[in-house]
Structure formats: structure tokens, C-alpha cells
């Protein structure tokens, strides 16, 4: 598994965890009947902060674990991690980003439909961030599939 592939896997795990956190938080808000716009905005902010922090920590951990594995394999005290991004990685990234944006556009359209069909704006805002996370997960799965199966 290449370093870039590990990064995509870490990103996928991050966003699955964020999805879990989001669903639990929203379910709690609905159960306690405190499902209001200001609470949802706080969930939005916490999701954004968690996404940034977890991504940074995940990338650092990937570097450290890759270096440890390389050290165990080769015994080299200054292990060389192949973290360059070549043309294949860039192409896979572009294709993955295209899938993410396409899915996000589709999901946003569906979220807006709920508003058009008479649901409160709160439902649309709640769905919007869910759409972003889901689109990122779909994009990451597509990237991993391209790494595994080729194109």
C-alpha cells in the first residue's frame, strides 16, 4: 500500500468517525427536543473543527507508523518514506474529487428538495453537512477502488 493510499484510507476512517459523531449528536438533539438552529450551527462548527484536527493528527500518525514499519522491515534508523505524489496519484485524486463534487451536488439538490416540499429550513441545514460528509466518504471509497482495481 502506497503512502497516498494510506492517506486516503485515513481520510475515509476520519469521515466515517465524523459521520458517526454527527448522527449520534443529531439523534441526541432530536430525543431531547432541543433540535434548534443554534444547536445545529454548533454541530456544524464542531464537525469542521474535528475534521481539521483529526485529519492533521491522522496524517502525522500515518507518517510515524509508516516510518516504524519501514524501520522494522529494513532496520534503517533513518527510514525513507515514499511520500511523493506522482501522476497516477494526481489522476486518482482528480477522479475522486470529481465524484465527491458530483455526489455533493446531487445530495445538496435532494436536501433543497426537502425545503421545497415544505420541511423547515432546519432540516435542510441538517442534511447539508451530512451531504458533505457522505460525498467525501463516497469519493474516498472511489479513490481506494481506483488504487485497488486500476484504470
Amino acid at each position: 500500500m502506497s503512502f497516498q493510499q494510506k492517506n486516503v484510507t485515513v481520510s475515509l476512517v476520519n469521515f466515517l468517525l465524523i459521520l458517526g459523531f454527527y448522527l449520534i449528536r443529531v439523534t441526541q438533539l432530536i430525543r431531547t427536543e432541543s433540535f434548534t438552529l443554534d444547536k445545529i450551527i454548533w454541530v456544524w462548527i464542531s464537525i469542521a473543527v474535528i475534521a481539521v484536527v483529526v485529519t492533521i493528527i491522522g496524517t502525522i500518525l500515518t507518517h510515524i507508523i509508516s516510518a516504524i514499519i519501514e524501520f522494522v522491515k529494513t532496520g534503517n534508523e533513518d527510514p525513507k518514506i515514499e511520500d511523493i505524489e506522482d501522476e497516477r496519484d494526481q489522476l486518482i485524486n482528480l477522479k475522486g474529487t470529481r465524484v465527491t463534487y458530483t455526489m455533493y451536488s446531487l445530495f445538496v439538490f435532494l436536501a433543497m428538495l426537502t425545503y421545497a416540499f415544505g420541511q423547515p429550513a432546519l432540516v435542510m441545514f441538517t442534511l447539508l453537512i451530512l451531504c458533505g460528509v457522505l460525498a467525501q466518504i463516497v469519493g474516498d471509497i472511489y479513490r481506494l477502488n481506483l488504487y485497488r482495481r486500476g484504470f
Partner: protein, 74 residues
């Protein structure tokens, strides 16, 4: 997805160049070892520039390394 229409002889050429390793070839042409693996398994079609760099690494003309469609390998 799967195998591409661009065939190559990279594995054979590595053998004839003192069993050059995938890592050595990757470093010579400036890509990762995973890209060389994907090329050998014909799961990835290289850019024209990378194809030329691989041909140069083996000191062979481009057509000796890559061919299009079902072709016989040497």
C-alpha cells in the same frame, strides 16, 4: 476498469537490465513503486511523458516498450 489497452514489456526489460528492481526503475523515472507495479500489471496507462522516461531508462525506443491493443510480447 481493469486491464488497459496499452501493453508493455517493462517486466521483461527489467530482467534484461540486470534484474533492475521496481524501486530502482521508479526512482529513475520519478514515480512511486506502486505506479510501476500498476504499469506492469497493465492496470494503469502512463502519460506520454512517463512512457518516454521509461523508454529512456531502458535506452529503448518507445515502441519497444509500449504497444497498443493485443500484441505479442518478446
Amino acid at each position: 476498469m481493469g486491464k488497459t489497452q496499452i501493453k508493455n514489456n517493462i517486466r521483461t526489460l527489467r530482467f534484461f537490465h540486470d534484474e533492475m528492481t521496481q524501486q530502482a526503475l521508479a526512482e529513475k523515472v520519478g514515480v512511486t513503486r506502486q505506479t510501476i507495479i500498476a504499469l506492469e500489471q497493465e492496470k494503469y496507462s502512463p502519460s506520454l511523458e512517463l512512457a518516454f522516461r521509461i523508454a529512456l531508462a531502458f535506452d529503448e525506443p518507445l515502441t519497444s516498450v509500449f504497444s497498443y491493443g493485443p500484441s505479442r510480447r518478446f
